[in-house]
């Protein structure tokens, strides 16, 4: 690690338990990780190992049962509801496996959503949302509703939405889980491109060829980190050059 630069994410003993009445599910059982700015990380692990739980905690969609989480130098566990909403709005961009677009809204309006809650004025909002859609190659689909878009296009809208507020971290929970392999590769190329422009990305996947686009792989097993610094090699030549320099 580069001693001088502070990690963008630090977790210490992060735990998440679900009380299910008779039994307690231990989804995370003390996770310590550090992630540097500009890293592209893949989180892997068997189903039920706690990957999504970890992502939701990092994304401030959920709160841990125990442990510390410091985001950009801010201890998140001390924040109230409004602060968490502000962090989700300003610091985090989320991409979900199931896209989670507003079904009745146009692509443009979906992308505007974070800007609405950031209090950006309508005209600027439009411009920035349109620019974000351009960036993911959907400049000509702005007025389409989700049911008029393919899976890959939907996910691009979701990515544009996650980026429109220039978040510090892009979180993607199995972003290609619902896509065919050709479309998945397109999305991965987009991620590599974003990463090359300095975007910090944390991505959950259970597919090795998807994970191979990342610079570092964190593997969870049974709610604990099993391997912290693995690398899959060699990534496809076309994107290798773009992502090579990122791992500290």
């Amino acid at each position: 690690m580069e001693g001088s630069s502070q990690p963008i994410i630090i977790t210490r003993g992060l735990r998440k338990e679900y009380d299910m009445g008779a039994e307690t599910v231990y989804a995370l059982r003390g996770v310590d990780i550090e992630i540097q700015r500009n890293e592209f990380i893949a989180v892997m692990g068997p189903s039920g190992s706690g990957k999504s739980t970890l992502m939701n905690l990092i994304g401030c969609l959920d709160t841990p049962t125990a442990g510390e989480y410091v985001l950009n130098g801010t201890p998140v566990q001390d924040l109230d509801d409004d602060d968490l909403a502000r962090i989700r709005n300003e610091e985090i961009g989320f991409v979900f496996q199931t896209f989670n677009l507003l079904a009745r809204a146009t692509a443009l309006h979906n992308v505007e959503l974070p800007l609405i809650y950031a209090g950006v004025k309508a005209a600027e909002r439009r411009d920035r949302a349109a620019a974000a859609l351009d960036r993911v190659g959907l400049g000509d689909r702005m007025d389409h509703r989700p049911n008029e878009l393919s899976g890959g296009q939907k996910q691009r809208v979701a990515i544009a939405r996650s980026l429109v507020n220039q978040p510090s971290i892009l979180l993607a929970d199995e972003p290609t889980g619902n896509l065919d392999s050709a479309t998945s590769a397109d999305i991965m190329r987009l991620f590599v491109e974003l990463h090359r422009h300095g975007q910090t990305i944390i991505m959950v996947t259970h597919e090795h060829d998807i994970a191979s686009f990342a610079g570092r792989i964190v593997t969870l097993v049974d709610g604990m980190v099993a391997s912290y610094d693995a690398k899959l090699g060699p990534t496809p030549a076309s994107v290798m050059t773009a992502s090579a320099a990122t791992t500290p």
Binding site: N56, A85, N100, L101, L113, A118
Partner: protein
């Protein structure tokens, strides 16, 4: 999120669920329709009573002396009614006393009147008429206008001629081809020559006057009266309110002396004024207006519950949407605002429809009756205020539920 943004989101949501939205505002529509319709009618009746009814019965700045109230307004106790029934009949000696007491009055008139009677012309008959024996100024004090022929003259009065001015409803029935003047009609055993026909007064209360026959007081006294020199009503019209009150005092004193009442003894006659009638009307009016809030609030509460339940269903159906919005940075108050905007718009639209329907009902009443439709601005403000109140209060619980959802639970909701 700004309020404008919340309203925009709410509007698109309402538009996307037109049918559901329409259904949810029915309760409010009913409540507000009712509110506006009742206020329109009550206000209309109010105006009618003040401007037309009271004026046409007594005229402005007028009072009359009667044995007991001729207009039943319902605000006398049984006790009072018994006392009034014991009052002495009014007669021509009372008329003399009144004339001497207020020599400067603009008009003084007196009348006797039959109970419901019938009038004949040949084989034709009109039932349910009223014969009035009126003094010289009676027609003037009543403000009755002549349509054809002439009114009663001083000569008719002095000589107690058997002449009659008939109401238009009678003229129509007895003389379908219009030629009423100069014809001789029969009232009980007496024949009268028709010298004039009154203009139609129409209206809710004017209809009775349209079926009246006016004959000279003295003629009535000699022919149809059941008791000699009896007077049903002495009417005095002053030039203004102040003179009217002074005249009432003078008349009261004169009548008490003439009737030999001792100090402390109650009057054995009754004053009737348009303001007295109006205060009686006000009592009715207040009862009506007091009943409205109860009925309206019941329908508004029901309307509010309907909106609340539909909003709760809507919150459940839109749990994922709420999750998405929260994941994108919506704060609790943003979600709250969105749902409150939605319930308020629905309720306000309901209130607007209710105002429209209520005014429509009022107009219908205006068409079908002589009552003018009159809606005071405060009623509109109240309707809108109530709409907003129902919207906010029915939205607050669903909105809180929505706003407090944990983002991840909302996103995961199936």
């Amino acid at each position: 999120m700004s309020i404008a943004e919340a309203l925009r989101v709410a509007l698109s949501q309402i538009w996307a669920h037109k049918l559901k939205s329409l259904f949810s505002l029915i309760g409010v529509v009913i409540g507000i329709t009712f509110l506006i319709a009742v206020i329109t009618v009550v206000e209309g009746m109010n105006r009618y009573v003040q401007e037309d009814f009271a004026g046409s019965l007594f005229g402005v700045n007028s009072f009359s002396i009667v044995q007991r109230p001729t207009v039943q307004t319902g605000n006398y106790s049984a006790e009072e009614l018994r006392r009034l029934a014991r009052n002495r009949d009014v007669d021509l000696d009372d008329v003399e006393a009144v004339r001497r007491a207020v020599p400067d009055a603009r008009y003084i008139a007196w009348r006797n009147a039959s109970r419901m009677d019938e009038v004949w012309y040949g084989e034709r008959r009109r039932r349910n008429i009223r014969v009035i024996g009126g003094s010289e100024q009676y027609q003037a004090i009543q403000g009755w206008e002549i349509d054809r022929g002439r009114g009663l003259t001083p000569l008719d009065q002095q000589r107690a001629l058997k002449v009659a001015v008939i109401g238009p409803a009678i003229a129509e029935k007895l003389f379908p081809n219009g030629a009423a003047l100069g014809k001789r009609i029969r009232l009980q055993a007496h024949r009268f020559e028709v010298v004039g026909v009154f203009e139609r007064k129409g209206g809710l209360f004017g209809n009775a006057w349209d079926a009246a026959v006016l004959v000279p007081y003295e003629t009535f006294n000699q022919t149809l009266s059941t008791k000699r020199d009896r007077v049903r009503e002495i009417s005095v019209k002053a030039n203004n309110q102040r003179e009217m009150l002074a005249a009432m005092d003078a008349v009261e004193e004169a009548l008490r002396i003439r009737r030999g009442l001792r100090p402390g003894e109650e009057n054995d006659f009754h004053f009737q004024t348009s303001s007295g009638l109006l205060s009686a009307w006000e009592t009715i009016n207040n009862i009506l207006l007091a009943a409205v809030p109860g009925l309206v609030s019941v329908s508004l509460v029901v309307g509010g519950i309907v909106i609340m339940n539909i909003m709760l269903v809507s919150v459940t159906q839109r749990t994922r949407e709420i999750g998405v919005r929260k994941a994108m940075g919506a704060r609790q108050r943003d979600i709250m605002l969105q749902f409150l905007a939605e319930s308020s718009i629905v309720s306000l639209v309901g209130a607007a429809l209710g105002i429209g329907l209520g005014l429509g009902l009022g107009k219908l009443v205006e068409r079908l009756s002589p009552l003018p439709a009159s809606i005071p601005p405060w009623a509109l403000a109240m309707a809108i205020g109530l709409g907003l109140l129902v919207g906010l209060s029915s939205g607050i619980y669903p909105a809180r539920r929505a706003s407090r959802l944990n983002p991840i639970d909302a996103l995961r909701y199936e």
